[in-house]
Amino acid sequence: MSKAGITTTVPVEVIFAAGWVPVDLNNVFITGENPRVMVEEAELAGFPRNICAWIKGIYSTVIKNRDIRTIIAVTQGDCSNTHALMEILQMAGVEVVPFAFPYDRDPDLLRLQLEKMMSSFGVSWKTVQEAKDRLDRVRRKVWELDRLTWEEDRVGGWENHLYQISSSDFNGEPEKFAVEVDDLLEKARAAPPREGELRLGYIGVPPIVAELYPYLEERGARIVYNEVQRQFTMPFMTRDLVEQYRLYTYPYGIFFRLEDICREVARRKLDGIIHYAQSFCYRQIEDIIVRKKLDLPVLTLEGDIPSKLDARTRMRLDVFLDMLR
């Protein structure tokens, strides 16, 4: 089956409907053998030092994986670095299918974008709707995993992160993925609820340093809300595909995202928020708004290259937990 690389969540229903396999390039990069080397290889190819490591990692991932020759390029709703990345990849012979999330969430423009993508892949609304039904069955299981995390305190922050983030492409095999989620659900339901932990929210792009989750849990704090990862599971139930990608918050402005964040802060009874921003990302500027709009303690973390948690970040996390107690 042909593979379509994605750099962020796009309507994967279209890709599955066409019988293609979506591949979230971020996941391939970060779970690879040596993600740090991937970043260095992009720098050797000429990528500037002061550019987001995700962009560099995706570049090297595509160059190395010769079976991914088509990529969906999100031309609005993501960053301008992605634009340049697509241009570089285009020059390397990769086919680029553009997709734009309209800035103002306009439903007509979004429908048009979806239909353009559908015609690139040669699929109809009927087959796309069938693909949605198929994926929604899997998504429901992941929603339950999330509920068990915050409402019943039976799932760790890392599992919550991993399975939600994997819902961007369902690891290419939705039914196999569903079995894995079922296994975890079964284990979680049998586990005793955790008690006495600090309840944290994690907002912003997924961390480039996975060690964050175990580090916090060793210190009695658990992330019970992974904002963007949860968005990848399309958590707002609707039959309408256009509406689904309008409710999906990530590609739209910070104020729309904050509505969702504030709702979840209250519902999940959070003690504090970790706002993660990637080094050199425009979203670092939005931290100003995040801090003004949220009225619970916020720790802003910055991550650059894939590595272990550095001493400074550990110190800042320790103090933050200490302050919340």
Binding site: S279, P297, E302, D304, A311, R312, R314, M315, R316, D318, V319, F320, D322, M323
Partner: protein, 252 residues
Amino acid sequence: MFAGIDLGSRSVKIALMEKDRPPRLQKYDTMEFYRAHGKKVSGKFMLDVAGTGLPGAGAGITATGYGRHSVKVRGARVIPEIKAHMLGAIHLTSLADFTLLDLGGQDSKVALVRGGRMVDFMTNDKCAASTGRYLENMAAALNISLVELSRHYRSPVELASTCAIFGESELIGKVVEGYSIPALAAGVNHSIFKRILPMLNRLISKTIVFTGGVAYSEALRLIIAEKTGAQVVVPENPEYAGAIGCCVEAMR
């Protein structure tokens, strides 16, 4: 007897305290201290503090500082730096409501303290261009002592580089342009202030307690007081605030 040890990036500070007595303080160069008192024990770097004047084989030691995750101090309890500095600052000044500004070897930290508790904090993250190491480099570039550097705050030369290393070459460029040493030194001091101002602004109080080795700089004390309008309190032995805070935590 309580012992506090602050494993800083430039120096290791040790405080020995008993209730109602002034603390005994000692300072070592970090590298020399690690060489003299450290060894690898089953793959981990351990500090054995016997022979440094600290009591026993580590009983009653509380440790903090940059090295606290990578270096194990035998028998010591570990607390985060900001907490240690805050407790030290409260102990040294008897204040309960203030903004703590701690400028160390490679850290800059700002914490908002209300009723003797930390309610918010910020630190430098991926850049050390507002710390003691920067001052050391700049003093070396100007071929003057840190004491001399810390005298000047009037008529500063504008230094624009955000990076400590580029700042050094920029400074050398200004030397060639013929600026006086006092103006250049004042420029260095003002540039540190500009880098910490965004953090200070967000967590400002009427009183700023200024700790860490950089608090010995009179120029910075004056610049901070003048530009923020806050009262700047520098406790005696400001660089020992972390080590003293460790003792305070142990005594609680």
